[in-house]
């Protein structure tokens, strides 16, 4: 269910429900008030009548009873009239709904209301009684007179009270219904209008081509949506970056694979077509160089691809740096001898405490090997390479020409070669070192040395790496 529909449902159901509840509470309280008012009136009128009757001289017993009764009725009629009879102006009075009666101690009717029905006689009771059928119910107050006795009754049709309550409620409900009729459309359009930015946003995202990763506009958005959209935009940014990264990598890889392939092919054609034996020999040697280059490139690319997909490599092994350095250095010794470079390993602390103490020795060896390789190849202007192993860092230092400062930031980029195409290399070595370093929570820092030379340093970086995507 959409938010808009849910909101509409709540509002459109809740408003009439609340209104109905308010109306019934109103009816209940009006009924209580009206009952109180009329009951009080009935009691008071009965008391007045009783007071009048007790103040009047009674006819002696045994007399003809019909006549005095009539007399009393006549005598009393002005009294009754004062309380009940129509005033000079009748107003809206409904006299038929009210009735009074009085009896003497013997139960003889002293008088009764001329307009209303004759109330049934009861004796000895004081209080309210409801009598009659559903349609013609009466609420009657009986008041027993003090000795010698007798009784007074004041009755009112229940219908009268109901009509009053109904009238009151209708009077209230009318304007309310009108308000509701106005309120519901206003609420409906209000909700729709409030939700419009969300609907617009959803529509905008839905109709986008999947390749469109431009940020969504945040102008005019409600405050609740802004964080969501900003988070989405950040995600779009990261996806764009990642796609761009992949695209660049593919383009670079294509370039780096095609160029040595094209070169090898061209050299092969020269080797097989040239009439000049010297040129043929040279071209054959060039073919071998080209194949070496492609072989190195392919294995570096594969190493990098494996590192990218690394999930299951065991990083929880103890690293024996002494053994690792020995192996790695002996791996580059041949190249170092060829270039006349000496490798000097400096233990600045116990080998067991060099960082990281826990990790994957094979990968760390690959990283160190790449750094040493670079130092031997590009740093051979100096005669010595140092490997300095300390608690905080592992450094590979040379006294070569270093790297032009403007190229330093690009050194870790895949396929970037500071030496251009002159040097044989894939441009992937430092990318690999960087990746391995990050997998171990290390950081690769590259800098020129004061006094000439280059320094590659592996040191404790942030962990976990903020950006595991390299």
């Amino acid at each position: 269910m959409t938010l808009q529909r849910r909101l509409l449902l709540i509002v459109l159901v809740a408003a009439p429900a609340v209104w109905l509840m308010a109306l019934s509470i109103g009816a209940w309280s009006a009924r209580a008030e009206i009952n109180e008012l009329f009951d009080t009136e009935q009691v008071r009128m009965a008391q007045r009548l009783a007071a009048l009757l007790t103040a009047m001289p009674r006819a002696p017993k045994g007399n003809d009873q019909a006549e005095p009764a009539a007399v009393i009725v006549q005598d009393l009629s002005p009294v009754a009239s004062a309380a009940l009879a129509p005033a000079a102006v009748e107003g809206d009075a409904e006299l038929g709904d009210m009735s009074v009666a009085a009896w003497d101690a013997a139960g003889q009717l002293l008088f009764a209301d001329a307009e209303g029905p004759v109330l049934p006689y009861r004796t000895g009771v004081t209080g309210f009684v409801e009598l009659g059928s559903d349609h013609d119910r009466w609420r009657i107050y009986y008041l027993a007179l003090p000795p010698p006795g007798g009784s007074v009754a004041v009755g009112q049709a229940v219908k009268e009270r109901e009509e009053l309550i109904q009238g009151l409620m209708l009077g209230q409900a009318g304007p309310w219904l009108l308000m509701l009729a106005l309120l519901l459309p206003v609420l409906y359009f209000g909700v729709r209008r409030t939700m419009a930015p969300v609907v617009r946003l959803a529509g905008g995202i839905e109709t986008r081509p999947s390749s469109d990763l431009r940020p969504l506009p945040t102008a005019g958005l409600p405050g609740e949506l802004r964080p969501l959209i900003e988070a989405l935009n950040r995600l779009f940014g990261r996806i764009t970056e990642s796609i761009e990264h992949d695209r660049r990598f593919t383009a670079d890889a294509a370039h780096e694979l095609r160029t040595p392939l094209a070169a090898t092919k061209a050299q092969w054609e020269v080797a097989s077509e040239s009439q000049d034996p010297q040129q043929r020999a040279q071209a054959r040697a060039n073919v071998a160089t080209g194949l070496d280059r492609m072989g190195q490139l392919v294995s570096q690319l594969l190493a990098l691809a494996r590192l990218d997909a690394v999930r299951t490599v065991d990083f929880a092994r103890k690293v024996d740096w002494r053994e690792l350095v020995e192996q790695t250095v002996s791996g580059v010794l041949a190249l170092a001898d060829e270039r006349g470079v000496e490798i000097d390993v400096q233990w600045q602390m116990d080998a067991a405490a060099v960082l990281p103490v826990i990790g994957n020795p094979e990968l760390l060896s690959v990283a160190l090997r790449n750094l040493l390789d670079n130092a031997v190849r590009y740093g051979s202007g100096g005669s010595q390479i140092e490997i300095a192993l300390g608690a905080g860092s592992i450094r590979v230092l040379d006294r070569g020409p270093g790297v032009p400062p403007e190229m330093l930031p690009r050194l870790g980029d895949r396929f970037f070669r500071a030496g251009g195409q002159e040097t044989i290399g894939s441009g992937l070595g430092l990318s690999i070192v960087q990746r391995i370093a990050r997998l171990h929570g290390l950081e690769l820092r590259l800098a020129n040395r004061p006094g000439g030379g280059f320094c590659a340093e592996l040191r404790r970086g942030e962990w976990p790496p903020a950006d595991s995507h390299l």
Binding site: H255, P260, A262, K265, R293
Partner: protein, 224 residues
């Protein structure tokens, strides 16, 4: 025909230049955009084979510069960038052809010939001049239907003269077209080649115009 190869990869540049030379082209190889601009400005190249990713700038930028200077020079882009966008960008920047590495030397040769046919407005596959014919693809020269054995240099000189049939070419002009920078000729070799052409084909095949240079003999003169 003299071709400029712009390629930063040493193995590829060397290989391309060598295989084009084997196919009878005069080829020079430079390794950067700045060298390419300088080379193009000082030597009369017939076409350029241009790599795009160069150490000192993009080949496309160089191409745009040439085109904005209204150079007609045919340019074949030879690159590893194979995306459709890149091809479109290359062609729209003024490339006459867009080739993806790796490419066979024979195909590159054929593409160069195709581009030169269009550029020079010579649609014919075999060039003819009187009884003389030259097939640029096989580089075979025939005289009245009979094949003539010529050295690569002699063929190149004849090709040059056939390419400019109505034009007198000076000796320095011929030398610039026949030799790349690696192989400078001594001043008499042009005369030697012309002597060989006259001997092997017909004495009137090349006319000497004193004080100016050389041009092809009149077709009617060749009939005699």
């Amino acid at each position: 025909m003299r071709i400029l190869i712009v390629e930063d990869d040493p193995l590829l540049g060397d290989g391309l230049a060598a295989s084009l030379r084997i196919r009878g082209w005069v080829a020079d190889w430079v390794r950067s955009a700045s060298q390419a601009a300088a080379a193009e400005a000082c030597s009369p190249f017939d076409a350029v084979v241009l790599d795009l990713g160069l150490p000192d700038g993009d080949g496309i930028a160089l191409l745009r510069k040439w085109r904005s200077q209204l150079r007609h020079l045919p340019v074949l882009v030879l690159t590893a960038r194979d995306a459709v966008d890149a091809r479109i960008a290359g062609l729209d920047a003024g490339a006459d052809d867009y080739l993806i590495k790796p490419i066979a030397a024979d195909e590159l040769s054929a593409r160069l010939r195709a581009v030169l046919r269009r550029a020079k407005g010579r649609p014919e596959i075999v060039w003819r001049h009187g009884g003389l014919s030259f097939d640029p693809q096989s580089r075979q020269v025939s005289w009245k239907g009979e094949p003539v054995e010529l050295t690569a240099q002699e063929t190149a000189l004849l090709e040059l003269l056939l390419a400019h049939p109505q034009q007198v070419l000076s000796k320095p002009q011929i030398q610039e077209k026949l030799y790349d920078w690696g192989r400078s000729a001594d001043s008499n070799t042009v005369e030697v080649f012309i002597h060989h052409l006259r001997r092997k084909i017909h004495p009137a095949v090349v006319r000497t115009i004193r004080g100016l240079g050389y041009c092809l003999g009149d077709p009617s003169a060749l009939e005699r």
